[in-house]
């Protein structure tokens, strides 16, 4: 068997060399690897990370070489893929989903000279930085718009996986909505996944059937937007500007803009100044952007723009007190705001949400 393998290797190597050597590594380039949980064509989470990667290529041209692996499940395979990226010579590696946390740390331990950047995690090492975006800031604006636009007074919310980021998003949405209409009702469907267009579309249809006339989502595909467009109701996009999927339906969309962060980190790595940090940018930093406000009356648009400005300038904090939990207990007093670390580990609903956090 061994002999056979070495023969095959030799034979193939000969063929390959004859056909022109395939993989010669140019010296001195910074090789950057990305690992995505979904397909780059999801028009959501992974798509936006890949836009960031492209921005890096555009910014630094010949100085960098990027590569990526898409559709990597957050299971036993992730560690191997990350290790493979290291072995392919990448020295800066972005692992762009929460579930890649442990695998990233394990590989990072074995390769102390390689720099790792893990999105949305909370464990850092000397060579593992973390980064995330304050998407809940955008969701506050969505809530306000929804409360204004909804005629039935019921909003549908397609939620992905009950981790703090998603629950904080629902709370922030609801707090925004309540600042406009305290009686707004929200119906939540958990699809237990990040990318499942069929399920997301079904959820949207079910919510519309139950009287929701505005659909918000925290999942990665434009399926819900398409369903809303087909049924003539309004919807919010997620991660990317989904206006092409809902020209009449999209009110706005929270756009994840990773480009500024990626460019900054690559620059530091090129200059040899990269260190492990924890970054949590929001609207102010351009990491969270709002797609153009469309399909809504001018006064609603004006309100949305004002809120966006207020959050950017720091005048408005989505989690400002008083905030009550579902059972009526006061969690944030008047004049105070919820601390970042509490938002990052949030697992309760605010008062007025008629649902239960799954698994609790």
């Amino acid at each position: 068997m061994r002999k056979f393998i070495s023969m095959a290797v030799a034979l193939t190597a000969g063929l390959v060399l004859a056909a022109g050597a395939p993989v010669a590594h140019a010296a001195e380039k910074l090789k950057i690897g990305f690992i995505y949980v979904g397909p780059v064509g999801d028009f959501g989470w992974s798509y936006q990370h890949d836009q960031g990667r492209k921005a890096v290529e555009k910014e630094f041209g010949d100085k960098v070489e990027t590569t990526f692996v898409e559709n990597v499940q957050e299971g036993p395979d992730a560690e191997r893929v990350i290790e493979q990226l290291v072995r392919a010579g990448n020295t800066l590696i972005f692992t762009t989903s929460f579930g890649f946390m442990e695998p990233t740390l394990k590989v990072a331990k074995r390769h102390p000279k390689v720099m790792f950047e893990h999105a949305t995690g909370y464990k850092r090492e000397k060579n593992v930085a973390t980064y995330n975006a304050k998407f809940h800031e955008g969701r506050y604006i969505l809530g306000q718009i929804a409360a204004k636009v909804s005629k039935t007074g019921t909003v549908g919310y397609i939620a992905s996986v009950p981790i703090p980021e998603v629950i904080a998003g629902i709370d922030s949405f609801m707090l925004g909505a309540q600042s406009v209409n305290p009686n707004l009702k929200i119906k939540i469907v958990w699809v237990n996944g990040w990318f499942d267009p069929a399920k997301e579309a079904d959820a949207a249809k079910a919510l519309i059937d139950q009287g929701a006339d505005v659909i918000a989502q925290h999942t990665d595909s434009p399926a819900a937007m398409q369903a809303a467009e087909a049924r003539g109701v309004k919807a919010f996009g997620q991660s990317s500007n989904m206006i092409t999927f809902g020209p009449k339906a999209q009110l706005t969309s929270i756009v994840d803009n990773w480009a500024p962060y990626y460019i900054e980190r690559v620059k530091l790595a090129l200059d040899g100044k990269w260190t492990s940090t924890d970054t949590w940018g929001g609207l102010k930093d351009g990491e969270v952007q709002m797609a153009p406000y469309t399909n809504m009356p001018d006064d609603v648009k004006k309100m949305a723009e004002d809120t966006e400005e207020a959050i950017k300038s720091g005048k408005l904090h989505p989690f400002k007190g008083p905030i009550y939990k579902q059972d009526g207990t006061l969690v944030v007093k008047e004049g105070e705001v919820l601390a970042d670390k509490d938002i990052l580990s949030l697992n309760w609903y605010v008062k007025g949400i008629d649902d239960k956090v799954p698994g609790q």
């Binding site: 393998i5 395939p22 036993p76 191997r80 893929v81 990052l344």
Partner: protein, 358 residues
């Protein structure tokens, strides 16, 4: 004009040898066309896909790590399929085993529990998988329900149960509410075989499973009763073999091995319980079992070949920036070619003239 597939009475020895080579040639041809259309040079692409992973001790280890769960599950499935019992739900049995085994790890976490923890986890996982497998067996024996449907549906039940546990009662208290259990203690972790790499002791268990399964299926009365029950149920009944017992038995073995695969993966490469613990091993193992002709020894290379297509696909994505879907299409092409070649060797296509009988 119609065609019919007829089983060949005598399968030619040359055919058996030539078939895989023909399949490989067809795969390479289709692959070459696909790569050229995409603007990739075919030879380097093939090299990176099939050969490069075999040139590096690390990737060879990874190949075995990836093949380990496939092998364990496929061996179990070969019991079921030989008996004509179509267990499609190995994925669920894998999860059920992983859950029950992890219970031991989570319950003893942070205590002084000694080296008995891992063996206990393995035993509990086997029991968990077997019990989960016995449900479709019971439904079939008692109510005549199709085991294909029930075993498949139970996959989702198991997955959602796991989901509930890691989000609720078994969530790591220090984990910011993220859906994962605590990391397992060293005594609850499958030991590595070498310092460098991820090759773990689970592969030894898989190896033992191959030998035992080959012996039981090939050399014992139990194996004969499974085989006979599958190919000639009436003959088996006349011979006095109890069909119900065979059904329970094969599902139990199949479930137990899938459960073992689950806990080995969780306590090995993963290290904690979390919502995603399998990239579809239970389903891919069905292909491994079929490719391996339900023969434990042949399932070994079949599992390794399947593992190679995954790892080669990842390498092709990294080095050639080949899209994920292309790597999967290529993988599918290979499997279809192998299965088609297999059919054409064992059967022959014959034209049927005249009135077709329904």
């Amino acid at each position: 004009m119609r065609f019919r597939l007829e089983r060949q009475e005598a399968v030619s020895g040359i055919g058996v040898l030539v078939a895989p080579l023909l399949a490989l040639a067809a795969t390479l041809l289709v692959g070459a066309i696909m790569f050229v259309v995409l603007g990739l040079a075919p030879l380097p692409a093939f090299y990176i896909y099939f050969i490069e992973p075999l040139t590096d001790p690390w990737t060879i280890q990874e190949l075995v790590v990836k093949a380990c769960p496939l092998l364990l599950i496929a061996i179990g499935l070969s019991f079921c399929y030989r008996a004509n019992r179509w267990n499609i739900g190995a994925e669920g049995q894998y999860v059920a085993g992983a859950v029950l085994g992890s219970w031991v790890a989570i319950a003893t976490q942070g205590t002084e529990a000694g080296p008995w923890v891992l063996p206990a986890m393995l035993v509990f996982a086997a029991i968990g998988g077997a019990l989960w497998g016995l449900i479709p067996a019971f439904l079939r024996v008692r109510f005549g329900a199709s085991e294909i449907l029930t075993s498949l549906m139970l996959v989702y039940v198991a997955q959602l149960g796991l989901d509930y546990l890691v989000r609720g009662p078994w969530r790591d208290p220090g984990g910011f509410n993220f859906p994962r259990s605590v990391s397992f203690d060293p005594v609850a972790t499958v030991p590595l075989l070498f310092e460098d790499g991820r090759l773990h002791a689970g592969i030894v268990i898989a190896g033992v499973a191959v030998l035992v399964a080959a012996f039981v299926l090939g050399r014992t009365l139990v194996g004969f009763s499974i085989e006979l029950g599958g190919s000639a149920p009436r003959a088996a009944a006349f011979a006095g073999f109890d069909e119900k017992r065979v059904t329970y038995g094969v599902f139990m073995v199949s479930g137990a091995l899938a459960g073992l695969a689950g806990i080995i993966e969780v306590a090995g490469p993963i290290g904690n319980l979390q919502p995603a613990i399998s990239p579809g091993y239970g389903f891919t193992a069905i292909i491994a079992a079929m490719l391996g002709r339900l023969n434990p020894f042949v399932i070994v290379p079949a599992s390794l070949v399947l593992a190679l297509t995954y790892i080669g696909g990842e390498a092709a994505q990294i080095t050639l920036r080949m899209p994920f879907d292309v790597t999967r299409v290529f993988q599918g092409t290979m499997l279809i070619s192998i299965l088609a070649a297999d059919v054409l060797v064992r059967y022959r296509l014959r034209r049927v003239e005249g009135a077709a009988h329904a």
